[in-house]
Symmetry: C2
Subunit: 151 residues, 2 copies
DNA sequence: TATTGTTATACTCTATAACTATA
DNA sequence: TATAGTTATAGAGTATAACAATA
């Protein structure tokens, strides 16, 4: 620990470099998670995010989904198109604005969500199995502060 | 906070879902960092990792780089090829094994590293500017445990 | 003119398999 | 047979620009 601190002042060690550690951890998690979504439900992560947000929030426009997911409008548009083609989401006209539509889960989409959500929570619980409640809250807090600092 | 805990027991909220938060934080950081590498030094992240490891460790085989970076042998091979074509790394025969070579930084590679490393450390310091030393150590610890749990 | 959303294109990272040359 | 490394190919995520329709 003392060695780390002293070296860290002047030299870079990839193994302790935050962007690297963050990337490795995130990649390990998302590889595991995306395999589960893909294998069991034939969903990409981007599609799963839309389903999760629509399940929480009800009908939303594409623009609202951009704000809710940190995905850009191109990704939203493509994920929504794929889900619509599978009948998992539905579009209703947006009375006040002809450019936009309200997207929401279909019955099939809600049924799929009801299947996935418990599995997603179980995977998360598994990842955090040996974390205390305090550590979980701290991790979320630290990640949000990193995210804010990077934007 | 009470609401979050109570909802969290039964429902999934993307905004508080660890794989999502981790992905968003990692993506925000690596977008910012990779733009700097790319724009200033014309390096991909994978290439930068090789340079950083070779700067720390001296001559290594591709296999040793796989172990040191969590990149697979395909990524190592491609990054090494690109760096060698630019004259940033050199290869020496591995006396005992004709299939393998020892890779190391050239003088040009070391000069490039000497330029990048301080900037990389400055970017990291900027990201962690409002973190205490304790928080930094904790974040690294939590990320490593997540990574271990995901593998 | 500006905004919502779509399409086209390209780049990075990753995963897999097929291949070579050595061991 | 097994291992070190290379090449080919494809999928997923993201970024940018050009575009159509509407505001």
């Amino acid at each position: 620990m003392r060695d780390d601190r002293e070296i860290g002042k002047h030299r870079l060690r990839l193994d302790h470099f935050l962007p690297y550690r963050l990337s490795v951890a995130s990649n390990a998690v998302s590889t595991r998670i995306s395999r589960a979504y893909r294998g069991t439900f034939d969903l990409k992560v981007t599609e799963w995010r839309l389903i999760a947000i629509l399940a929480e929030g009800g009908a939303m426009t594409a623009q609202a989904l951009v704000g809710a997911t940190r995905m850009d409008k191109v990704s939203i548009s493509r994920a929504a198109k794929a889900l619509q083609q599978r009948g998992l989401i539905e579009a209703e006209p947006h009375g006040a604005d002809g450019r936009s539509r309200f997207l929401s889960l279909s019955d099939g989409g809600r049924a799929l969500y009801a299947e996935i959500a418990p599995q997603a929570l179980a995977m998360e619980a598994n990842l955090l199995a040996d974390f205390t409640g305090e550590e979980r809250a701290l991790l979320e807090n630290l990640l949000r502060r990193i995210e804010d600092a990077a934007m």
